[in-house]
């Protein structure tokens, strides 16, 4: 009796083809906790204190830098806003400026926010 077997090269080719078909392109940005934190700030206000949000977002930024990924639009600006709310205008200004450097399209708004906390754009 002849045993039925899939020839090895064909099986390997099929596997490679299958994995190739299912791979998704990498995202432009490393999203981390940004959107879940913004959602939590609205859905459950106060549940995640500003200091905790800032720690999580800084972790995301560090991880992105370590893996050569980019931080999404708005993350640093949101951190600046949280810092301003915490009464730390100098640290807030640093984040607003970082947003401006990463995304020049944000310049007008970032300058507005810096002026709003008494800083120089």
């Amino acid at each position: 009796m002849i045993a039925r077997r899939i020839p090895r090269p064909a099986a390997l080719a099929a596997l490679l083809l299958a994995t190739g078909c299912t791979s998704t392109p990498p995202t432009l940005y490393a999203w981390g906790q940004y959107e879940p934190l913004v959602y939590a700030s609205y859905a459950s206000p106060g549940k995640v204190p500003a200091a905790e949000q800032l720690a999580l977002l800084q972790q995301d930024i560090d991880e992105a830098a370590a893996s050569g990924r980019r931080v999404p639009p708005g993350v640093r600006a949101y951190m600046g806003y949280l810092l301003a709310e915490e009464g730390k205008p100098d640290a807030a200004r640093v984040q607003f400026l970082a947003e401006k450097v990463a995304f020049p399209e944000s310049a007008v708004f970032m300058d507005r926010l810096i002026e709003g906390i008494g800083g120089k754009p």
Binding site: L28, E35, E105, V108
Partner: protein, 218 residues
């Protein structure tokens, strides 16, 4: 004498009638206004909420950044803009949507503003199923020329699915409805609806400057 219709004139119609897809082919969007004013940055305002739950406004807004940013645009920080505009005396989406485009350009530096209406957001109880649904409509305006450069609509839905004992499904549907309302199952559908809108065949938003396919629609 009655004019004779050439058989050849009938053929295209016959062909189209046989091809089931013809009736549902979307009308291609006219991108000429967009091409005249392609934006680099987009301001997404809190949406006008026509859904049944108040959670819809921020459930949608907090999931609006990623689809648009991954489409290649700079997206202003939605929460920061929301708080900023509230501090300027605009308590909600209704007031924010009334802001003159020239002001959005001057104060925020936005190239374009996306006005979103949340037509449906939340649970609907449909026979023996409980369905979470998000349906949105959006219009994108260039702030410099104050012209409409793009518009679209999107939809996403999830339900229990078919099969099984009808009574058991009825009970399950009621339970899902109750749980769903409190945990906002529609929040997860928001980005799906948004992505469906941005990638609509022949009517999608062109990719923005940060995307490898910048300027292309598909």
């Amino acid at each position: 004498m009655t004019p004779r219709r050439s058989p050849r004139a009938v053929l295209p119609w016959l062909f189209c009638a046989l091809m089931a897809g013809c009736a549902n082919q979307p009308q291609p969007y006219d991108y000429s206004a967009f091409r005249a004013h392609p934006p680099r940055s987009i301001l997404v305002l809190p949406p006008i909420n026509q859904g049944t739950t108040v959670e819809g406004t921020y459930g949608f807004l907090s999931a609006a950044t990623r689809p648009l940013a991954e489409h290649g645009y700079y997206v202003f920080p939605v929460s920061v803009v929301d708080h900023f505009m509230k501090a300027q005396g605009m308590p909600g989406a209704g007031e924010m949507h009334e802001v003159p485009l020239a002001r959005a350009r001057e104060i925020l530096g936005a190239d374009a503003v996306l006005f979103v209406t949340l037509e449906r957001y939340g649970q609907t109880y449909v026979v023996v199923d409980s369905v979470s649904e998000v349906r949105i409509r959006a219009r994108l305006y260039d702030t410099a020329s104050e012209t409409l450069i793009w518009e679209g609509s999107g939809f996403a839905q999830s339900g229990l699915g078919g099969g099984g004992d009808p009574l058991a499904r009825l009970v399950a549907a009621v339970v899902v409805q109750a749980i769903g309302s409190s945990t906002d199952a529609s929040h997860g559908l928001s980005p799906v609806a948004m992505n469906n809108m941005l990638a609509s065949p022949k009517r999608g938003l062109p990719y923005g400057p940060y995307h490898p396919k910048a300027g292309l629609t598909e």
